[in-house]
Structures are given as structure tokens and as C-alpha cells.
Symmetry: none
Subunit: 251 residues, 2 copies
């Protein structure tokens, strides 16, 4: 950590890091003013300042999850020297909002290009979903009774097989992403193999217009499910005494 440089030198460091679009982290004594949708003033104190490669801007205090000041990108960021401080001005490009920070001294400084190509996945497998539905068939429909899950057929594995409130055999197909024509074709294969008088419901967070048209034309049904809702259910339920809850407690 650099902490022996003059303010002038540090200002030059920041200017250089900004111009080459590096990721910047500063731990410093500062005060900050925000003017935009509202106004705010943050008195002097030691904080973490982050400037990201896309000009995202954050000031974090030593406690609390949320930043005390921030500016979503894109921003125009400029540096100047004040009386006994470095002045950082962060202006939003698309809106009349700005944060002005006066930095009086540095405890830490870092700047570099960061290499991050890893992707981020939010998930809940179709298997996990069918397990949740086994415990909560009412999420499919009131009065629904599940006969089997992960049922192997010639046409493929049927996620959920059950009987509805009126006693009709029903196939349920789960898609954790937006359902397309492929999903509908898959359900159609199951239905054709199962024979006449079988209902089929496609469960997914969303469906494309074309897929929905095809589905209606073939007398199939669509029901929207929220993945978040489902994951909440498992989180709260398995709270009792399962491998999941033990895991969550770190045992």
C-alpha cells in the first residue's frame, strides 16, 4: 500500500489510472458532497473509495452493507488539486448528478486492470424443482396429486406425473429458463406417447410468444412459476433438519 506519497503525486497516480481505465481502490480520509435527485453531505472520515473500469463509483464507510455515496456508470471523472486535498469530481453522463470528494490523506491505494471473464449463474436444477413440487403439489394446481417424478419413458424423462383435482392424468414439464418451441415439442412427444385424455402443463418462468401459440394450438397448458419463490421454499423448509440446513449452518 502506498502511503508515503505527496497528494500531488497521488493525484497524478489517480489521473493516470483513470486515463487507462484501471480499477481503482483507495482507503482515505475524505469528505463528500452529492447533488442530484437529492442533496447530501458526508463529513470528514476514513472510507473506502472504489472506481471501477466502467467508471462505476462507490464510497463505503467502515460499517454498513450499502455505500454512503455512489454513481452508476457512465460517469465523467476528473481530478484536481485543492488547498490541502485532492478533489475528485464524478459526474453522471446521462443525468444531472454529481459527487464531489475531497481527499485529505491516503492510507491505501491500488490500481490495476482486473481480468474477470468468469460467468455468473443463478440456478435451481429441474430435479430440485421437481422435488419441491413433490412436497408442494398445490404449486402446480389446487387439488393436484403427484404420482411420480423423474419418470422414464421412451420419449424421455417426464419431470412430474400426476392426477388433477378432476382425476385426469397430467404430465408436468419443468423448464427453469424461458420456454421455447423445443420445450413445447418435448411435451408433445410425451403426450402423444401417453395417448388420449392426458393433460399436459408446461411450468416455467416465461414462454416465448411463438411457443405459446404452438402450445395452445395443441391443447397444452402453460403455468408461470417463479424460481426465486421456489428457492425460498426450499431455504425455509429445509431449515429443520436436512443436509442442506446442516450445510447452511456450516456443519
Amino acid at each position: 500500500m502506498i502511503n508515503t506519497l505527496s497528494l500531488q503525486d497521488t493525484a497524478e497516480l489517480i489521473r493516470e489510472a483513470l486515463s487507462s481505465r484501471r480499477f481503482i481502490v483507495m482507503i482515505c480520509m475524505c469528505e463528500a458532497q452529492y447533488i442530484g435527485r437529492a442533496r447530501s453531505f458526508l463529513e470528514k472520515g476514513e472510507r473506502l473509495i472504489v472506481i471501477k473500469e466502467d467508471t462505476s463509483f462507490l464510497i463505503h464507510r467502515p460499517t454498513e452493507l450499502e455505500p454512503v455515496n455512489w454513481q452508476p456508470p457512465p460517469n465523467h471523472i476528473s481530478i484536481s488539486l485543492g488547498e490541502n486535498c485532492v478533489i475528485l469530481t464524478v459526474r453522471r453522463v446521462r443525468k444531472p448528478e454529481r459527487v464531489v470528494v475531497k481527499i485529505y490523506s491516503f492510507k491505501g491505494f491500488f490500481s490495476d486492470k482486473l481480468s474477470d471473464n468468469g460467468s455468473f449463474h443463478m440456478h435451481l436444477s429441474e430435479k430440485e424443482i421437481s422435488e419441491i413440487l413433490r412436497k408442494h403439489p398445490e404449486l402446480i394446481e389446487d387439488g393436484f396429486r403427484i404420482v411420480s417424478t423423474e419418470f422414464r419413458e421412451k420419449a424421455g424423462i417426464i419431470d412430474v406425473l400426476g392426477v388433477d383435482a378432476k382425476g385426469r392424468r397430467t404430465i408436468v414439464e419443468i423448464k427453469k429458463d424461458k420456454a421455447g418451441k423445443d420445450a413445447v415439442k418435448q411435451v408433445l412427444r410425451y403426450v402423444r406417447e401417453a395417448g388420449t385424455g392426458v393433460r399436459a402443463i408446461l411450468l416455467s418462468p416465461n414462454i416465448t410468444p411463438e411457443a405459446e401459440k404452438m402450445l395452445r394450438k395443441n391443447g397444452l397448458e402453460f403455468k408461470k412459476i417463479s424460481m426465486l419463490e421456489l428457492s425460498r421454499i426450499i431455504t425455509y423448509e429445509e431449515h429443520s433438519e436436512s443436509s442442506m440446513s446442516r450445510f447452511l449452518r456450516g456443519e
Copy 2:
């Protein structure tokens, strides 16, 4: 920035910083898994990790304003050594949620107690506007008399409650941005709870056409206010010699 230490040494540094509740900043190659209200996995990449003095936890990627993973305090944070990595486990105390981070190498490390006693002021929030109106009820309407501000009702907090020149009870709702349907719905909730014979005025710098239609249909009223004008008022009236005003003058 420390970047020549072994993983083992760095783990020890983190452990020590955690036990003395210091503010920790790391720039490192890591992957992260979240299990809780939802589930997610973040593949390997270089990121900023922040652990605050109250155990607030954040992982930031090189771009985007928002953290990719986080845990609100209080957390229980533990460190262990993996195959070729440091494993950081962040478990929320009040909820079954955890983030597990595997750190493979460090580009930067900082830890220290930060001293931040400066206070944070917001100006021209709806609360502050209602305070200005309390002092200047004529800005609402000639002859308007304010009974109370920030009045808590079941339906929500009524910004201003007053009596107009003709003696009618009047609800005033303030929106500092353009008022939309939500704002109108909010006022409607108040009016319905308040009963018959109550006026309601929506004060804001602007209103969407649909919201205005909805408002007229329900017999509510709209009055335009200028935030700039209001902020001028506080600029003149507010504490003239605070650190804020000195700052604004650039001292």
C-alpha cells in the same frame, strides 16, 4: 499492497484482521458460491472483496455498480485452507444464507481500523420538503394551514395534513420526482382511509399523463412545485456556517 506472501501467510493475516474486527480489502483471483434465498455460482476471476468492521461482506467485479455477491451483517466469517486456495466462509447469523469464496491468489491486501465519525446529511428529501412547507404553507395554497407533517396512518405516512382556506381537511402528498401511477395510488389509499369530504393534493415537479388522468378521475388535485425554488429556500434559511456551507464555497 502485499502480493508476495504465501496463501498460508495471507490466511493468517485475514484471520488476525477478522479477530480484531478490522476493515479488510482484497483484490484477488477467486470463485464464489451463494446458497440461501436463491443459489448462485460465480466462476473464477479477479475481483474486489470487502469485509467491513461490522462483518458486512461484498464481492465486486471490475465493472457494474452493484456487487455480484454480498451478505448483510451480522455474519460469522471463517477462514480455512483448501487445496491451492484460501476458503472464506461467510454465514449470516440471522438467516440460513452463506457465501463461500475460494481465493487462489492475491493482487492486493489491506486491513486496518478506519476512523470515521463524520455524520451524513441528506437534504431535500420528502421529509425536508414537508419541513419547508410547514414553514411556508402558502407554497401549497393561499390560506393553507398545516396541522401536521409526517403523520403516520395505517396506509402509510402522510407527508402533510392541513386545512385549506375554506376549512376543508386536506392531504398533501409530496413527490420530489415526476409523479407516476404509484404516487396516485398512494394518495388514493390515504383518501380512502381518511373518509369522505377530504381533499388531496399531489405536489411534485411533474406528473405522467396517465397518472394525471387517474388522478382527475378520482377527484384528486395536482400542483406543480419547483425543487430548485425549494432548495433556494433552504440555502438561505439553513445553518449558514456548517461544514456543508463552507464546503459549498470551496473552503
